[in-house]
Amino acid sequence: MSILQCCLIIVLAPLVGCVVAGFFRKQVGRMGAHSVTIAGVGISFILSLYVACVVLSGSMPTLDTNLYTWASGGELFSYSFHLGFRIDALASVMMVIVTFVSLLVHVYSIGYMADDDGYQRFFSYISLFTFMMLMLVTANNFLQLFFGWEGVGLVSYLLIGFWYQKESANLGSMKAFIVNRVGDFGFILGIALVFSYAGSLHFETVFRSAELIAKEHMTLFPGHSWSVMTVMCLLLFVGAMGKSAQVPLHVWLPESMEGPTPISALIHAATMVTAGVFMVARISPLIELSNTALSVIVVVGATGALFTGILALVMNDIKRVIAYSTLSQLGYMMVAMGASAYSAGIFHLLTHACFKALLFLAAGSVILGMHHEQDMRKMGGLWRKMPITYVTFLLGSLALCAIPPFSGFYSKDTIIEAAKLSTIPGSGYAYFCVLIGAMVTALYSFRAFFMTFHGQPRMDKDTLAHVHESPWVVWLPLVLLAIPSVILGYVLYMPMLFNHPTLLSSSIFVLPEHNVLEEMAREVVSPLQAFGHAFLSPVFWLTMFGIVLAWIGYIVWPSSPLFFAKRLGWLYRLLLNKYGFDAFNDFVLVRGVKALGRVFYRIMDQKIIDGFFVNGTGRTIRWLALKTRVIQSGYLYHYITAMVFGLFGFLCWLLLAQ
């Protein structure tokens, strides 16, 4: 069957699963719910593997068809809105990732959510999410991308607040949605700008006219003329900031850990947060033409990479540590995008999806074993009790720390090199951040590792007795994710980054002066050689230093962290407060908006509209009636007086008006 039909099935199968599990909950029961959804996503995965093979082998050109026109204007507005697919290398790679991780999370959830009441609802939601994400990556115009964008935001809200009886879950889900919305606002402005300058929302059309748009200028503030391309890209990047949790719109990701662990793995590690990265790669023809946008992306990404990583050092909840780790890695991806090493960014997205999902699911397995205890200070010494989880967590951590030859090394190292070689303003700062960030990454991930699995058990006797390895539905996805975490980097290093042409070259456009990967390609020969060169680079030694520090801090000298926390109390408090972002948001934005609402309610609504207009008209009319009532006194002589006056007036007019 044709690629187009495959793609239709890929996108729609999860939707079918969602509808069946969602609306026919009682009819299909728990078995039926998970079977239908897993079947749907499984079919999607197999077919997307097939499509990826076909597309990446280069045997077919980019497929860009419109399937359905869902709105079209007439004379006044002659544009038509379509539903269509754009299947190229980038989209097919993303499809594979999304369906793979989604399938594994589905299987994992059978075990994790086994004793939950909302079992079918959960499966329905994650299938819905898969559908939305697939719509996002296969979109061929901005509006469809935005539909998927909003859809994943919605499902993220539904899933974070899955246990809706918990107050904190509701707050977390609302925070996620609202902060996302702020990003979406910028995104929609960007889309509008695209439409007004390119005349179309179709990717192909927009990319073709990119050169023309780059020449135009607009005045945002009187006296300052801005390049349209810069404004457009910056606005679109604001959307990416919201979705991919870049500083300062990163505040929602830690709170999103209120949701069940499978969705943290699916949404907040592998797929939704990477939608922003994907989008930036998609619009590479536009961004490349605006150096300002690239600089901003690189600086924002680098800031996120370093500073959110530092925050992970003081977190005690195992999921929070991994959440901040995700924030940091997203920063890395954005740095790659900003340095014009798009393939490297997508490569890191791929490997990160695997090992971060692995880390989350392993953490979930630990939490399950500890009977939903998430505080690492109460764990320890679990390596004997949960061996499979232990090994997979270790593999994931090694990949995260970019230890050669695990997959994280190949992608992260390339990013650091790209930051070093890039010439756009801000890349020096970015290089510094990602370098220090490597050490910080090693420090926090091995801190988590040692605190959870090694050392003396710090939990109570009862839990210690009951801790055991999780069922096969839980550890099988872990193993299946560990395999690509180990080998994916090695396998895809050359094809993705340095071959001629690279896998993604048909989807990505890079200006020659920005092409750092081209520069790096002159020295790179093979992954094995890269492995050998790793031991000479400062990154590796910084990482080892970080691991050693973690070992000292949590195994050899366990009281040292507390010692440092007391000595550097101010720093510790600053980190605990997450640099004051949440406090600022609460104080300025939340209270400001609430005060504004209060003003509008008390003054505008109650006083002005209700009191003045609505009640005021009534009161005025009543007052008028009160005054006018005096005329009707009932006395004949008053009436006659009135008549005489009228007569007098009439006569005056008649006689004197010549």
């Binding site: 005489v644 007098f648 006569l651 005056c652 006689l655 004197l656």
Partner: protein
């Protein structure tokens, strides 16, 4: 001489008319009001005589004063009217009333240009009235009334009839202590209207 006499009579009687009108308006006692009104009518009638409208002047006295004013007096004396002194109220509103009157009068003055009626009353329209001058007023009116205005005459009669009927109708009262039988009411009585049974304790 003739003219002077006319002028003198005119001024005296018009002065009397105005004085009695003023008295009408300012008296407390309603009987006095009506009596002053009678005086006003009598003076007016003299003024009408001056304008050679004898018939109307005498009709005014006979019909108006003799019948209508008498009626007024009857009613006034039949009703038990409180004679209250409303001097204060009157004094309070008098200025407004006088201003109003002055305004109206001024308006009427404005309506008439100065040179409109320079000619005396009798010096105009003589050509039309040559034939009529020789007839007495009564005959002249009669000549016109029963030929040109006969319809109005009949209507006036109807109006008078209506007035009589309505006046009687309004004031008529049924006799209160009549012992006439009302057959319908007698037949439609119910037992409950006539008989009531009571339960009473027997007295010891």
């Amino acid at each position: 001489m003739h003219d002077l006499l006319l002028q003198v009579i005119f001024y005296i009687f018009s002065g009397l008319t105005i004085a009695s009108a003023l008295m009408v308006v300012t008296q407390n006692n309603p009987v006095r009001c009506v009596l002053f009104l009678v005086l006003a009518f009598l003076c007016s009638s003299v003024l009408w005589l001056l304008v050679e409208a004898e018939f109307l002047a005498l009709i005014l006295v006979l019909v108006y004063v003799g019948a209508v004013m008498t009626l007024f007096l009857f009613v006034v004396m039949m009703l038990n009217i409180d004679i209250e002194s409303m001097r204060t109220h009157f004094m309070r509103y008098l200025p407004y009333g006088l201003i109003l009157v002055a305004l109206l009068t001024w308006l009427m003055m404005c309506a008439l240009p100065h040179d409109l009626f320079h000619t005396a009353v009798s010096e105009s329209g003589i050509a039309l009235a040559t034939a009529a001058v020789n007839q007495p007023n009564t005959a002249a009116i009669g000549m016109v009334l029963y030929t040109d205005y006969v319809l109005a005459f009949e209507l006036a009669a109807v109006i008078l009839l209506v007035a009589i009927v309505s006046a009687i109708m309004l004031v008529h009262r049924k006799p209160i202590r009549s012992k006439q039988q009302n057959i319908v009411q007698q037949i439609m009585t119910r037992r409950d209207d006539r008989v009531t049974l009571l339960a009473m304790k027997a007295e010891k």
